[in-house]
Each structure stands twice: as C-alpha cells, then as structure tokens.
Symmetry: C2
Subunit: 124 residues, 2 copies
C-alpha cells in the first residue's frame, strides 16, 4: 500500500467507527459512501492493513473472519448463542505466553467460546 486512496481512508474510518466487522459488513457500509466500491477492494485493503498492523484480523469459529480496530493485544469472547463478539481482557496472559514460547517475538489470537451475559440471563 504505497498510495493513500479514498477507498483505503473510507475502510479505515468504518473499522474505527464500528468494531469486529466482517469484510461483508464493511463493504455494505462502504457502499453507502462510495457506491462503486468493490468487495474485492475491501478484502484487499483489509488484508493489507492487517499485514501492516493497522487493524487486526480475528478468526471466528464457523463464521467469516472479522476485523478489529484495536491493535493492542487483547482477546475475544464469542457467544455461541447469539454469535456476538466481545472484547475480553485476560490479565497475565502475555507473561504466560512469553514463558511458553521462549521469545518476545510473537503474535497471538485467543478466542474464548462462552455465553455472553445477555444470553446467560435469557437462558434462565
């Protein structure tokens, strides 16, 4: 990504505004401001940005990948009932990982499958 295009700016702005979006969702939002934008462009930009560390790519079990504005290491909780994605803070995780990997040079992706508070309440 050498040039800062309109599409690039738009996509980044959308990710900043909302969070944990799929490429499809970003695309649907982007079309509102730029009707001729292509889904392929959205994918290309999202992947490029994820590579550059400007955003984060999260894999969700049994669903499309999502993209997150928060770059700093943090975790995600995925609710199997409603499919929602929530941020989660796991204290002491980085230290545990450093010890296990034996190096500081790593990235990680942690997703926890658990019912969110809303669904847990609804279940009763």
């Amino acid at each position: 990504m050498k040039y800062l295009t309109q599409q690039c700016k738009l996509i980044l702005a959308i990710i900043q505004e909302f969070g944990h979006m799929t490429a499809e969702e970003v695309y649907r939002e982007a079309v509102k401001a730029m009707p001729k934008i292509a889904l392929g462009t959205v994918y290309r930009n999202l992947n490029e940005m994820a590579q550059d560390g400007r955003i984060r790519k999260i894999r969700v079990p049994d669903g499309p990948d999502r993209f997150d504005k928060t770059v700093s290491p943090h975790e995600h909780m995925i609710c199997p009932k409603c499919g929602g994605v929530l941020d989660l803070e796991v204290k002491g995780l980085t230290e545990c990982l450093k010890e296990a990997v034996g190096s500081d040079d790593f990235q990680y992706d942690l997703s926890v499958n658990a019912c969110c508070a809303k669904c847990r309440a609804a279940q009763q």
Copy 2:
C-alpha cells in the same frame, strides 16, 4: 453419530496416528485404505467428532481448519515461515481465563504466531 462405521473408525485412527491434519490430508490418507471414501464423509465425521469432543478443531489463520487428537486443553504455535503446527503448553492460562470470563463454562482456542526453532535457526 449413532452407528460406528468403518469410515468413522478409519478417520479416528488416522487422526490418532498423525496430528494437526487438515480434512484434505485426512482424506488423502483415508483413500489409501478405503479408495471409495468421499471427502464429504471425512468432513461429516470430523465435524461430528469435534462436536462430541472426541477430537478438536483448530482454526489456523490463512489456512484450512485442522483437527487434533489431543482433546485436553492445550495451545498451538503456528510458524509463519513453514506453516507447521506445534503443540504448546501455557502454564496458568486456564486460571487467567476463568477470572476473565467469570465462569468455568467455556472453551477456547489460542494460537500463537511465532517462528519455530527450526526456522529460527535457518534464518541466521
């Protein structure tokens, strides 16, 4: 899965022998012993088994899902250079997660992206 079929037994045996296999890899191995087995059957069985907790499904960034014989909670390290998947033990992780989620009822999937020892050595 009510019936214990030949295909089911074969697939389970393959997962036990090798580890961290993609559905495609399991299929290629299965065909050797059972030439008429279908890829769809492999997928159906793997997913069924993962659901039942007999094996584990692991999501790998930018690659097909893999299936693992080890059911007990453990983590994976994925080497960005060679694409290899290694088991990893992260001490104290479960405790950290229990605290963060606020419940004992959860599953999780942690994958760490870091160069494996082999690739780290080769890089020098």
